[in-house]
Symmetry: C2
Subunit: 180 residues, 2 copies
Amino acid sequence: MVQKRDTEFRSPKTLSIPWVPIVRNISEIGQDNYGRLGLSHMTIAGSVMHGFKEVEVWLQTFAPGVRTPIHRHSCEEIFVVLKGSGTLYLASNSHKNYPGSPQEFPIFTNSTFYVPVNDAHQVWNTNEQEDLQFLVIISRPPVKVFIYDDWYMPHTAAKLKYPYYWDERCYETSPIKDEL
Amino acid sequence: MVQKRDTEFRSPKTLSIPWVPIVRNISEIGQDNYGRLGLSHMTIAGSVMHGFKEVEVWLQTFAPGVRTPIHRHSCEEIFVVLKGSGTLYLASNSHKNYPGSPQEFPIFTNSTFYVPVNDAHQVWNTNEQEDLQFLVIISRPPVKVFIYDDWYMPHTAAKLKYPYYWDERCYETSPIKDEL
């Protein structure tokens, strides 16, 4: 069946973001859990969604216990923690053929942290009392995420999830309404 | 006189940011006004300072009345307003040979705004009662800023300020102590 893209979004290859309002109220930007209970994800500035080509900014809130998958990506990634606390698990053993046991880094309100390019990592709200909220800044959007089942899975076995959940939603297609 | 770079910093061309702690407390990151009264600038993640290659994140606070120069740069730029309110002045007349009278956009706590690549703009804390605080995310660091004296100065006359103030500080040189 011939399909077309949702008309609200266009390919980042063809857009010059003329229709994104210059100023937006963050509390009015759509958020979703993308099927993960306790997650709130909001794309503040997106590649697929808004046409940014070089950076992307997300606002995410993790309820207690919520965590990312163990994953890697070949972009720069910087976090600014706005609320709560938790743990960054980071495996920098890029010379092994699997991530291996990660280092644990406490993260906390008003901290910033980064993930070295291609290092396997996981962000986990390990605070049972409080939501963890942070801004995420990535380069080279849209993000291409390789997901590991565990820290001992070979790098080569990690599964590419692309487009990632929030980008995938933008690419969702709907049948053309054939008026004939 | 032969000079060397401050040993605290290295050229972004040669570094792989191994010495930047993964997690840092933002309240312990150095800030400075770089000669502009009422400005507080903090490089949370920097190119020259920390070795990031693709994105840079700043935290800036403007006292009432403080404003940026009228300027442009050929990078993507996204703001997240944490506190206060003010005005973005933006001239998108890239087809004229000068910026021309800018549009005014109110900015406010919990808003996000962006500046289209190469558009002349100015961010101004026009709220006389309150500080304006925001995160700034730019691509293609380090930033190359072209500064206009006014909105009717030709684009070609805008003066390049490079390195910009906070990057310049990183490049400051000191004479080698010649032990002989």
